[in-house]
Structures are given as structure tokens and as C-alpha cells.
Amino acid sequence: MNTLELKKQANEIRKSIVTAVHGAKSGHPGGSLSAADIYTYLYFAEMNVDPENPKDPNRDRFVLSKGHTAPGLYATLAHKGYFPVEDLNNLRKVGCYLQGHPDMKHIPGVDMSSGSLGQGISAAVGMAIAGKLDGADYRVYTLLGDGEIQEGQVWEAAMLAAHRKLDNLVVIVDNNGLQIDGDIAKVNSPYPIDKKFEAFNFHVINVDGHDFDALAAAFAEARATKGQPTAIVAKTVKGKDVSFMENQASWHGSAPNDEQYAVAMADLEKVGEALCQK
């Protein structure tokens, strides 16, 4: 997929995110939209995965450590072909397999159950260690929120990842700058994020999380990095491409009503149309 195609795919994924959360009347749109380009790049350009064979032992793995942005992951998996896009309409509904947070037991393509912040990265470290033990060449990716890295367990995991020289592991931080209670710098600042991972012996790359060319360069650099894990700190906009959600902490965990949904979809249609004229 070229950059334009990736942008179009991300736009479709954003529409599905907003539609799923609107249908569920709950969920986490802000951080799903901020990470939509990252999800898109991972599943449509970076990772060696096959929706026809979701349990392939040689596949690359992805752990959504910031599990509350499951709508973003589910929309991406659906568009990739793991399950029907229409199923997103039943997100968070009783009896539907699309749980509020990722559930590996029931959702095709989900490599690890997650949602309690700080825990996913540990599982990703375990997968990367397993890859090293087996001499397998699969890679492991995990996406964390910038608020999530306030959890101490993240740094327990980071210390072990670097100690064991897990160069098959990429930790991505979705740095949208907002958490439930507001600006991460005001709640309990995790900055400087890059310096912290550097101090933990990671190879660190700062990147614009909405620039596909920059993401491509970053993931290529991670792949070329040997002897240490890579952290990609992706600067993003929470609620990206939905006018009234952008940079608003209040859209961390609430669903748009019918009117807001119409505005959101119009915003995204506009982005999509602009891409078609390129």
C-alpha cells in the first residue's frame, strides 16, 4: 500500500471507529482516532499477518496495551478481513464477541487480552522472549497510551525488555497528550518520554504519528536496530479528524449522540473526499 492508500484506509477505519462507538453508545473514540494511523500502518504495511491464519505461530504479534482503544483495533482487524465490518455494529452489546476491551479468547486477530493499563507491555515482552527462545523471526509490537506510562509496571517491563536485548520488540507510545483527567503534563507528567525510554536502554525514535512516511521510516529503523528494543514516541492528536473531538479530553471515553455522529461522519467524509482528489 502506498501512502495515499494508507491514508484512505485510515479514513475508513476512523469512520468505523466513530460508527461502532456511536452504535455502542459508549467506548473510547479519542484515543482510537489518535492511533488510527498507527493501527493502519501496522496492519496494512508493517506486520506479517494473515487474517486467514490468525494463529500462525510465525506471525508478528500486536498487543494493545492501551486496551480501551479497542474500537480502533477492532475496526482495523475488520477492514483487514479478520471478521465482518458489520459486526462492529454490535460492539459492547450483550452476547457480541466484540468486548469493551480486547479479548483474545473470542476475537480473531487479537493476540492478547488487555485493558487494565500497564499490563499489555509485559505480555509483549513475554512474547518477544518466547521468540528469542525459539529462534523465531517474528516481531512483537505493543501500543501504549502516554497516560498509561504512569503505571509502574510499564517500567518494570521496559527494564526487562532492554536487559534481555529484545530487538524483536517495538513499543509505540501514542502521545496524544491527554488522559481522562486532562493534560498529561498537568495530571502527572510523564515527560520527557523519549529520555525515559533512552535511560531504560531503548533505541528511541520520535515521530509524527499521523505522517505515514515518517512512520515507515521509524519502523524500518526499528527493524534495523539490533541488540536493544525500540520505542517509537508518536506525537498524535486525540480525536484526530473529527472537528469537535480533536484535543478534547472529554472525548476520551464518551460516545457521540446522533447529531454529533452526523457531524463526525461529515468531517470524515470531507477528509476522504480530499484524499480522492489527490
Binding site: S116, G118, Q119, S122, M127, A130, D134, E156, A157, L160
Partner: protein, 313 residues
């Protein structure tokens, strides 16, 4: 009973891990800077590449174990019961229990028999915590023979298992030639008609000795060893309750939520019976030699016999 061999079940754990590790290359051991104490050091010496020391970070260790399990490994995550079930409870629940991953938790230093280290390290709540997690198997072996068999059974079973081991050397009363471990099956060690003593862990040997004392006083006690707390052998417990009319539970664990509660949960529904729960009575432990603490907290044979006698009369 004078020349009975004594071995701590944590020793059995390390030795068994090494044995099954030789047979199955997918077995890996994780530790959190306590390899010498939990005895995963025995495994480490034999298979250094399959021993992952996570340092003093138990919560991360549980998550790493979960990740290893998703990739087909059979991880045994080891630390003291306090940190395995206590500190890392939520990681065990959400990263291991919820996805029902094939992780074995080897929790050593359970109960007050930790001894001199005192209350901060004497976990008497782990059975209660672990048994509330859906799908978690909880095993509390009584001696070396049973502990080794339990480790093997846990490795063969697919799904999360919590294994409870002790620091203190305890009598080996099972015969390795004839002993058979069956997950979820209790073992009748002594027949009796007046009362049933249901015990687990190091309290099994003490209960057997108590039954001998009671016999001398004309009280005929049946003794059941419950090594698998969850799933409980309900059939055996119900039958024994109906047979003897009275039931006593004995455990080196809080009387809140442990074996006593498990047995009461079962009997209240299936065979209402008066039950005396012997255990740690909603208090913290303290420092001191293990044997003295066991006596002080009423878990030795003399104390058990006295309590059962008073209960039966």
C-alpha cells in the same frame, strides 16, 4: 514416627521442575530475584537459557509469563505467595485468568511457617484470593511426594494453576511407590466414624497425628487430605459429612476464604453440617521459629486434637 524424613515442599517444587524440564523443552521458569528461596535455582542450573529472572518486579513477571504462554511455552512463575497472589493479584486475574492462559504460578513461602521474616511475608490470604478467579485451579500439597506429583499434574493440565508451597521442612508421609495424584480428588488417609478432619498443606500431617491422639481418647476421626482446593472434591466431602456428622477443617491460612470456607460453601448447599474451622483467625502472623508459630497459632497436632475433642463432645 521418630525417623520420618522432612523436606520443604519448595524443595520438591524445584526438583520437580528440573525433572519435567528435562522431558519438555517448553517448560520455562520465571523468578523475581528469589530463585534460591523458591528453588527455581535447581531448574536454572540445569536449563539456564529457560530460566528468566525478572528481578524484583512480580507484576511484570506475571504478564511476561502470560506472553510466553500465548507463544506455546509452559511458564512456571515463581515467587513468595504474598507477592504472587497478593501483590500481583490483578495481573494474575486479568493477564492470566481472564484469557485462561497456560501459566503455572509456583507460590512458595505460604502461611505463617515462613517463620522469622514475620507478618509482611506470611501470606494467609492466597487461597482465598486465587480461588475467586474463574477457571483457576488451586493446589496445596501436603508433602514432598505430593508436591512433586502436583507440579507434574499442573504441567500436564492446560490452563492456569496456582501451586502453594511452604518454606518449612515437613514430614514425608506419602509413599512414592504407591502415591497417585489426581487433580480435584481428595484422599482419605484414615477412616473414622465420629468426625471428619479435612486438612490441606502442612496441616495434613499434623491432623493425622491429632487423629492418633484422639483415638487414644476414644474419638474415631476420619482424615481427608484435600490437595486440590479448587475444583473441590465435593462428592468426597459430602459423603464424609453424611457419614460422620461433624466436620473440622484445618489449614495454614485465614479461616476467611480458605479451605474452611470452601468446605462450608459445599456443605451448606449439599449436606448442611456443623463445621469447625481451624486456621489463622483473622489476624496477622509474627516473627519466630516456624514450629513455635505453628504451636502458638494452634495448628500443631496437640492443639488440633484439643479443639476437635471439645468440638465433638
Amino acid at each position: 514416627m521418630s525417623e520420618v524424613k522432612k523436606i520443604a515442599t519448595r524443595e520438591s517444587y524445584g526438583n520437580a521442575l528440573k525433572e519435567i524440564g528435562a522431558e519438555n523443552p517448553n517448560i520455562v521458569a520465571l523468578d523475581a530475584d528469589l530463585a534460591g528461596a523458591t528453588k527455581t535455582s535447581v531448574f536454572m542450573k540445569a536449563f539456564p537459557e529457560r530460566h528468566i529472572d525478572c528481578g524484583i518486579a512480580e507484576c511484570n513477571m506475571m504478564g511476561v509469563a502470560a506472553g510466553l504462554a500465548t507463544a506455546g511455552k509452559i511458564p512456571f512463575a515463581s515467587t513468595f505467595a504474598m507477592f504472587a497472589a497478593g501483590r500481583a493479584f490483578e495481573q494474575v486475574r486479568n493477564s492470566i485468568g481472564y484469557p485462561h492462559l497456560n501459566v503455572k504460578i509456583g507460590a512458595t513461602h505460604a502461611g505463617i511457617s515462613v517463620g522469622e521474616d514475620g507478618a509482611t511475608h506470611q501470606c494467609c490470604e492466597d487461597i482465598a484470593l486465587m480461588r475467586t478467579i474463574p477457571g483457576m485451579v488451586v493446589i496445596s500439597p501436603a508433602d514432598d511426594v505430593e508436591a512433586k506429583a502436583a507440579v507434574r499434574a499442573a504441567a500436564e493440565y492446560v490452563g492456569p494453576v496456582y501451586l502453594r508451597f511452604g518454606r518449612l521442612a515437613v514430614p514425608v508421609f506419602n509413599d512414592p511407590e504407591t502415591y497417585k495424584f489426581e487433580l480435584g480428588k481428595g484422599i482419605v488417609l484414615r477412616e473414622g466414624k465420629d468426625v471428619t478432619i479435612v486438612a490441606t498443606g502442612l496441616c495434613v500431617a499434623e491432623s493425622l497425628a491429632a487423629a492418633e491422639q484422639l483415638a487414644a481418647k476414644g474419638i474415631d476421626a476420619k482424615v481427608i487430605n484435600i490437595h486440590t482446593i479448587k475444583p473441590l472434591d465435593e462428592e468426597l466431602i459430602v459423603a464424609a459429612a453424611k457419614e460422620t456428622g461433624k466436620v473440622v477443617t484445618v489449614e495454614e491460612h485465614s479461616v476467611i476464604g480458605g479451605l474452611g470456607s470452601v468446605v462450608c460453601d459445599c456443605l451448606s448447599a449439599k449436606a448442611p453440617t456443623t463445621v469447625l474451622k481451624i486456621g489463622i483467625n483473622d489476624v496477622f502472623g509474627e516473627s519466630g521459629p516456624a514450629a513455635q508459630l505453628i504451636k502458638k497459632y494452634g495448628l500443631d497436632a496437640d492443639s488440633i486434637a484439643a479443639k476437635v475433642e471439645a468440638f465433638v463432645k
